[in-house]
Symmetry: C2
Subunit: 372 residues, 2 copies
DNA sequence: ACCACGCATGAGCAATTGCTCAACGGCCGG
DNA sequence: CCGGCCGTTGAGCAATTGCTCATGCGTGGT
């Protein structure tokens, strides 16, 4: 894979100009003279030489090419960064199957974490199969005094290793750091229980610590029947399906968003025990991992919500997300209710216990991919 | 024609290092982030990022390519610059025939002069067909108050337009500047006449002015039967032939040198009325033009003498000179008398009048291509 | 012919970059 | 096991670079 700087109108230059530009560029870029020196040589002022050199680059007389290894997708990564205002995007080259894709993504994410973490770092951790896989690959060369904090409650059901607490433990084990568990379920019966729980010192202190994290590692969840929320037993298949009918496309730490990145105030949200989005936003580097084959919509929505700073994703999803993002999206800043999947709240009896009325979807913070 | 920065050992890097280098380079060179930003992003110190970027360039991960027009020979020019320590080298692409070559060289030289000259500049001027052709192409966009000074005497014979005085006049006309003629023949009868002539205010003042020039435009002369010295009647065919047998390969302003660039103290030198080489060396930019097909040896010798700062030459000569220079040359700094064409002084009755004994070739300034 | 607009120009300054240097740490030999 | 050596690191500084601004020149429109 390779990448070039933008090539411009190479022909709109007269011969003489072209010659000057090329010669100037040769002296500056290849022979590594200073701008002052080349200017002197060509009988120009330094500023003029600088302007000409800039023009040479714009015009494509100077082409800078990165001889990247074939397994890097620097162009996709740049496109993701630019499209969604990300700080960093890492694309894992497509593998033979979904499992291999996940492993590849996890590996790249692990490498990224290893580079970022320092002694004393605090990492807020979410759940998910990919996040869990990250922990398996996370093996820094030397021990790191890093604290991993659960940023979401656990689940009673099966599929234990994808639990935030478990992921934390595995990550801490990988580097000789500390794991701070959140002793609470991801979803409780109702808002009342939730606020009681949040009042507990043990819960509150963990969430506070997560809120002060330097970095967050979260998985992007989907709304399909096989998503982590369902697999882990946090939500029932029906609940997730219903969320989908409400326009939800995916979540981060249980915070569901629609395709335009707007948070979805579903009744479930009242029952969620996790780091609030506003707190998550305050974390300097929110690293999201995503790799399942049916994730493009989830990733797109989450990226548009602007919570994510760093995305680690497989090549297939990356391409799909960029393609989807290129299509003009339904009304966002305009305030119009989007068409298509965004149906108004319908009759759904929330869940065995949650009785809170279906909330209107008005009055939320503006989405937009950029935030700081 | 194109040119790349040195490609290094691209394979001696591990995958991870390679990835880091490529990604760093992408962010810095393509996305135009500052080193500080990319360092921050990758969790490195600025210095480390800088070192890695440098390594990326050395290793060839970053390739800078100049998209030069096909009629530029930047690679040859760089090679000439480096081989002979030139400040600048301009190679005119090969044309259909020798005349066209000369025109091309003259045109490039004229463009170079136009770029270099400023109001108030003083230019010392030599003779020759190419120099004369330069004058024909010399047409700056706006008038320039430049003084062109003859740096060598004239010739009584035919081929008037190649005379320094004529070249000066033509150049001055080209830009609306002033021409300062040297009212003396290039070669006089004997050393006595020469010193008398040099004592004349008119001659001395012109040569003084030439000595103080900001730039010099000189032709590189050969030692063949058709060289300018012969054509213009300055020297007889026999005299030039004899100079050749003495090891002379070419001249600048009548100062002949051998293939190693050492000045040749021939009897003719005693009779020459021209700016002395030591003075010529003091001129900041000595621009030499050369274009005849039989010039490689002359150009090589002159370049090795180190008088020239800027060379404008045709492609054929450029290649021939570089090829010849690549071959190990006969003893130079070693002091041994070079083999081959360098025969010891032989019986030659200098000329109708010059009676000075053939001089030994000992005790000259060190040659070497570099000087300042 | 005059004026207004706009682009090019070079001065000066702030940011970025490259380099030097002392300190650190790991590695090898004693 | 200890000491010296080499490679690596980041601090600090000097050089280089990029940018902003006031000025001037040319161009085109009254």
């Amino acid at each position: 894979m390779s990448n070039c700087s933008t090539a411009g109108p190479l022909d709109s230059l007269r011969q003489d100009d072209y010659e000057l530009l090329a010669r100037l560029a040769q002296r500056y870029y290849i022979d590594e003279q200073t701008q002052d020196q080349v200017a002197r040589e060509f009988g120009l002022s330094r500023q003029k030489a600088q302007r000409l050199l800039k023009r040479a680059r714009q015009a494509g007389v100077v082409a800078i090419h990165i001889e990247a290894p074939s397994w890097l997708r620097l162009d996709l990564e740049s496109e993701l960064r630019e499209t969604f205002g990300l700080e960093e995007a890492v694309v894992a080259v497509a593998q033979a199957n979904a499992d291999a894709d996940r492993e590849a993504v996890a590996q790249r994410a692990a490498r990224y974490l290893e580079r970022q973490l320092r002694d004393g770092s605090v990492v807020a951790v979410g759940h998910g199969r990919t996040a869990s896989a990250v922990a398996r690959f996370f093996r820094p060369v030397d021990r790191l005094a890093v604290t991993f904090v659960s940023a979401m409650g656990g689940s009673p059901g099966a599929d234990a290793p994808t639990n935030p607490n478990e992921v934390c433990r595995a990550l801490a084990q990988g580097c000789g750091g500390r794991a701070e568990s959140l002793y609470a379920p991801a979803y409780v019966e109702d808002a009342g229980v939730r606020s009681q729980l949040l009042a507990q010192a043990a819960v509150r202190s963990t969430l506070d610590m997560a809120a002060g994290a330097d970095l967050a590692l979260v998985g992007i969840g989907g709304v399909d029947d096989d998503c982590t929320m369902v697999r882990s037993g946090c939500l029932s298949r029906e609940e997730v399906t219903w969320l989908g009918t409400q326009g939800a496309v995916g979540d981060v730490l249980g915070h569901y968003v629609d395709l335009d990145g707007r948070p979805l105030a579903s009744p479930h949200h009242q029952r969620l025990v996790a780091l609030p989005v506003e707190h998550l936003r305050r974390v300097k580097k929110v690293v999201a991992v995503a790799s399942e084959p049916e994730k493009p919509a989830a990733v797109l929505g989450i990226l548009r919500s602007g919570v994510v700073d760093v995305l680690v994703v497989d090549e297939t999803n990356a391409r799909a997300v960029l393609q989807a993002a290129a299509r003009p999206r339904a009304g966002t800043a305009t305030g119009r209710a989007p068409a298509g999947p965004m149906v108004p709240a319908t009759r759904y009896q929330p869940s065995p216990a949650a009785k809170a009325a279906t909330l209107s979807r008005a009055g939320r913070d503006a989405p937009g991919p950029h935030r700081r």
